[in-house]
């Protein structure tokens, strides 16, 4: 049976369309990301009050929480793109999934490292084998596994499929990370932001955090677009429009 999808669905899956649109969006996203990250960092480091128990080490939250959120969102995006690519055989979706992996891995590294640095003065240890920390470490290894599969094959198509399948299987880890602080007794504190409740900290503390989270999302949008555009240039190198783009740049 042949299903007819709306026109925008086909346009969205065209590498050329993506390249053109992302080229227009990139400068604006870059400006917005730089502004949000600058405002959030200064607000968090200089103006936000210190925690009455943790003192100034609390300020690590302004990079720790955004990177941890991003590491998980990026994974979901990678898995969703992988699923779309496998089901509808859309080239751009494979490029998106492939581009997410290294960015997500670096976000997971940031979250784990800043968490360790924060843990030392707060818990007295760099690392504990706690459910939240362990499931985040597994997330990092999943990213490494996906990246390894993507580059392990001579044929790009085989690599695309293998990477997307592992990305999909690894999705089970995401709810484990999310609920690890509720299911198990952990040292890690519960989530700062919940959709259904007000944050437990005062606005002077969580507002800069919100700015940083938005800044990290925009930063992600910028770097993921840069990587997808490279994938487009590389994979569509034989098409005429890419030759024109290459000669003009």
């Amino acid at each position: 049976m042949k299903i007819k999808y709306p026109q925008w669905f086909y346009r969205l899956s065209s590498p050329k369309w993506f390249y053109t649109i992302s080229g227009k969006l990139l400068p604006w996203f870059t400006i917005a990301a730089v502004m949000l990250l600058a405002v959030g960092t200064i607000w968090g480091l200089v103006f936000a009050p210190q925690d009455y128990q943790q003192g100034n080490s609390f300020r690590i939250i302004y990079v720790h929480v955004p990177s941890a959120i991003l590491a998980q969102s990026c994974y979901m995006m990678m898995a969703a793109a992988g699923a779309i690519a496998l089901i509808w055989k859309i080239k751009v979706a494979h490029m998106v999934a492939r581009s997410c992996a290294p960015i997500g891995a670096s976000m997971a590294i940031i979250a784990l490292a800043t968490g360790a640095i924060w843990g030392k003065p707060t818990w007295g240890a760099w690392w504990v084998w706690d459910a939240r920390l362990t499931s985040m470490l597994i997330l990092l290894f999943l990213y490494f596994g996906v990246m390894a599969l993507y580059s392990a094959f001579e044929s790009e198509t085989a690599g695309d499929k293998a990477g997307a399948v592992l990305a999909l299987v690894g999705v089970v880890n995401i709810p484990i990370i999310k609920y690890s602080v509720e299911w198990w007794n952990t040292l890690h504190q519960p989530a700062t932001f919940k959709l259904t409740e007000k944050p437990a900290m005062p606005p002077e503390m969580w507002l800069p955090l919100l700015v940083m989270v938005l800044g990290f999302y925009l930063f992600f949008a910028v770097v993921v677009m840069m990587r997808i555009r490279n994938e487009v240039l590389q994979r569509e190198r034989k098409s005429d429009w890419v030759k024109v783009v290459v000669m003009e740049s």
Partner: protein
């Protein structure tokens, strides 16, 4: 300014300076890496393909 009286107090972070600056420094490094890496890749791709197009090599693998 803000929560601190002077620059040295800001840098010390109430004794937690090492932890705070180590975290932020690492984040800065990784964010810079995430920008420069695709930027360098693009330069490499464009240079390679320009060479290829100039050679008139259309059936490369």
């Amino acid at each position: 300014m803000g929560q601190f009286n002077d620059l040295s107090e800001f840098l010390e972070m109430g004794g937690h300076g090492l932890y705070v600056w180590l975290s932020y420094g690492m984040v800065l490094l990784l964010l810079i890496f995430n920008i420069t890496s695709p930027w360098l890749t693009k330069r490499r791709i464009v240079a390679e393909q320009k060479r290829r197009i100039r050679r008139g090599d259309s059936n490369e693998t």
